[in-house]
Structures are given as structure tokens and as C-alpha cells.
Symmetry: C2
Subunit: 205 residues, 2 copies
DNA sequence: CCGAACCAACCTAACGCTTGTTAGGTTATA
DNA sequence: TATAACCTAACAAGCGTTAGGTTGGTTCGG
């Protein structure tokens, strides 16, 4: 039985991890010092080095963990066979859920990876590209099958994902929507567009 | 007649301004030191203080200039009377053109304002909100007139602008599009959506 | 037309402070 | 007793910034 009184081995490490995720995504990697991170936890800065060999290693682990979280989130969607429209919708919803439920990780996935030094930066961009590739593939198929308008999959995936990433802080007038509902709202807007269909007037009765 | 040989008064200041815009938007405000900025120009760090009282003043001027550029870009569109669909399209095109033609300023407008200290930060957010308000207003009218689908203007404007902001680095396979063309491409996607209209099959002949 | 006064731009040198990181000692748990 | 977690103390380097001196073009009185 592992005790849980004063010195805990794995617990502390995960607290450092979670706190760093929060601070890095709120204030940025460069805007967060090891001393501030340590103080937030209640230890000294030097003590962090018992768990992580450097500040950048911490960022690296955070970034990889975040990438993994996004991969995991869309994995079940990729496994299903669905028409492109439904599949793209499901991908967007899964992505939005991941962004909202893991806001801290998401912030790092989206912006703080810039401060990784080579070769990790390049490795990371490859991870991201592979992820975006799933969206591009669904878009490509939808265009091919005539269910999507003839759009450039690279351009469209960039637009869709950057829109999805911005939903993180969204709260509507009646308070926060559920991640699921917010994802559907976003998918409605992006898949069907802003313009109302002229062929079907609002409510013909 | 003002000479232009060795000591130039206004010229140097604008070089500092432009170089700072470039570095701040590439590496971030915190990731750029005064010494690096100075070295890039070919002077010493201390010399910058003959032109700007502090690093943050530099950021502040950059941020305000960027906000002004966006306001100026959409001003002529606001002056015209247009149906909501056309107006929103024109706003998006103008915004995209501004993002692309002034990439450095745009980067600060979009991300680096976070490092402004109060009360400038709040002032800046108000500027941004006023700008986004123009988009919300057009969206509101479009919904009211039944030309847009029933969407939340606040949510939609957030989505549209975050998508537009991400076009900065976009290059398609045949090289860079003109800002104008890129803006139209984006507006097509956002206004009409991803899904092909079912009422009008692709090419019925 | 010329030398002196002026002034803005730029420099060197240094300040106080914070940064990430390390060495070495302490302490409590297993 | 062994070990991992944590501490104190300090390091070299970098940060934004300032004080004070140098330079060179501009301006103006004689």
C-alpha cells in the first residue's frame, strides 16, 4: 500500500505537470518562471528539478501529452464509417470537446509549441500535420463525392481548425454551453455557412 | 530642406518601430530583448530609449497602430449601404487584406496585446470589441432580415474573425494568392459553408 | 561667411534584478 | 540504513533601464 502523507513520489510530479499546463497556457511559457511555478505549488524552484531535468523538458512533455489528447479524442470518430458530412461534423465536435475539457493542454497545443527548440519543434509540427491530415482527408473525400463544395482541403482544414480552437473561452448569454452542444453549434455554422438557403424559405408551412 | 545623410530624426524611429513589429510578432514580446532588437537595426540597446521611453511603450504604440490599421481597412465598407450578405463579404475581404499586407502589425493585434499592463490592456480590449462590433451588427441585421441563418452574432463574429486571422501564412500549391482573392476564397467558405447545396445538384445539365 | 552654441542621436558602462540551473546538505519514509 | 524528495545558497547570464559622455549636423550672431 502506498502511503499518502508527506512525501509522495508520483503525485507531486503530476501536480507540477498540471500547474505548469495552467500557467504556461495562461501567461505563456516565457511569461512563467520556475520560481512562480514552484511557489504556486508550495515548493522551491530547485525542487522541480528532482522531477524534470529542465523547463523545456516540462514544455515538451506538456506539448506531447496535449497532442496525444487530441489524437485520442478523434480516434473513435476515425474508426467509424460515415458519410463525409457526418464524419466532419463528428470530428469537429470531438475536437471542440477536447479544446474545452483540457483548456490548459489545448493552449499549449495551439500556441506555446513555438518555444520548443529544434529538433523537437519540427517533430511537433509533424505531429500536428498528421492530426490535421485526418481533417484534410475527410474534406477531400467529401469534395470527391460531390457532397462538399469544391474547396481546397488544406485551406479548409486550416480555417475549420482555427475556428474550432477559438471556441475555448466562449460563453453565451445564458452561461456556458456543454462542450458537445458548442461543438454542434460550431459545426452548424461551418458546414452550412452563414447565408440562409434561398431554395427553402425560412418556414414555408 | 532636411538632410538625409548621417543623423536622421524620424527615420530611425520608424525603423525601430517596423523592426519591433516584425520581431515581436515572430518571436513574441517576451521572446525579444531590447538588445536583440537594437542589434537587428545596427545600434545599441540604450539608443532605443532616445526614441521610446520603454519597451512596453513600444508595444503599446504598435498595438494601437495595428488597431488603427484594421479600423481604416473596413471603414470604406462600413460607409457603403449594402445588403448584409455583400457587406459581410466585403468586411471579411478587407480584414483579410489587412492581415496579409501588414502581417507584423496583425500579429500584435491578434496575440501580443496580452502583455500590455493595465489600464492599457483593458483600453485595448475595448478597441477590439468595438471593431468586432461592426461584424456583429452586420450579422444581426442579416439574421433579422432572414438572409442569414439564425445564429448568435457574438459567436459567429468570433468564429469568422478567428478564421480570417489564420489566413496570414497561407500559401496554396501554386504559390501565394493575392490578398483580395484569398479574402474572397475565405468568404465563400464561411458564407456558403462546406456542404454543397442539395437543392441544386453540382451540374444538372 | 564663419566659428560658437545648441541639440538630438548615439555611445559606453553600469545599475539592480530576475532568470534557469546546479551543488550539496537535510529530512522523512520505506 | 537507503533513498528519493526537498531544502538553502549560490552561480553565470541575461534582462530592462539609466547616467553621463561623445559626435556631428543645424542654427545663428558677428
Amino acid at each position: 500500500m502506498q502511503a499518502a502523507s508527506a512525501k509522495r513520489p508520483q503525485d507531486r510530479k503530476s501536480v507540477i505537470f498540471a500547474t505548469a499546463a495552467q500557467l504556461f497556457s495562461q501567461q505563456g511559457y516565457l511569461g512563467t518562471s520556475m520560481r512562480e511555478l514552484a511557489e504556486r505549488i508550495g515548493i522551491e524552484a530547485a525542487s522541480i528539478y528532482s522531477h524534470y531535468p529542465s523547463k523545456e523538458d516540462l514544455l515538451r512533455e506538456l506539448a506531447w501529452k496535449a497532442a496525444e489528447a487530441f489524437d485520442t479524442a478523434i480516434e473513435p470518430v476515425l474508426a467509424h464509417v460515415l458519410p463525409p458530412g457526418r464524419k466532419l461534423r463528428a470530428l469537429l465536435v470531438a475536437h471542440v470537446c477536447c479544446v474545452i475539457e483540457q483548456q490548459a493542454s489545448a493552449g499549449i497545443f495551439l500556441t506555446e509549441w513555438r518555444h520548443l527548440s529544434e529538433p523537437y519543434r519540427t517533430d511537433y509540427l509533424n505531429l500536428r500535420d498528421r492530426y490535421e491530415g485526418h481533417f484534410r482527408e475527410v474534406l477531400r473525400q467529401g469534395v470527391l463525392q460531390g457532397q462538399f463544395r469544391p474547396l481546397d482541403p488544406r485551406f479548409a482544414s486550416l480555417i475549420l481548425l482555427s475556428a474550432a480552437n477559438m471556441t475555448a473561452g466562449w460563453r453565451n448569454a445564458e452561461g456556458p454551453l456543454s462542450p458537445e452542444a458548442l461543438g454542434q453549434e460550431l459545426a452548424d455554422l461551418l458546414l452550412q455557412g452563414v447565408i440562409a438557403p434561398t431554395a427553402t424559405p425560412p418556414s414555408p408551412n
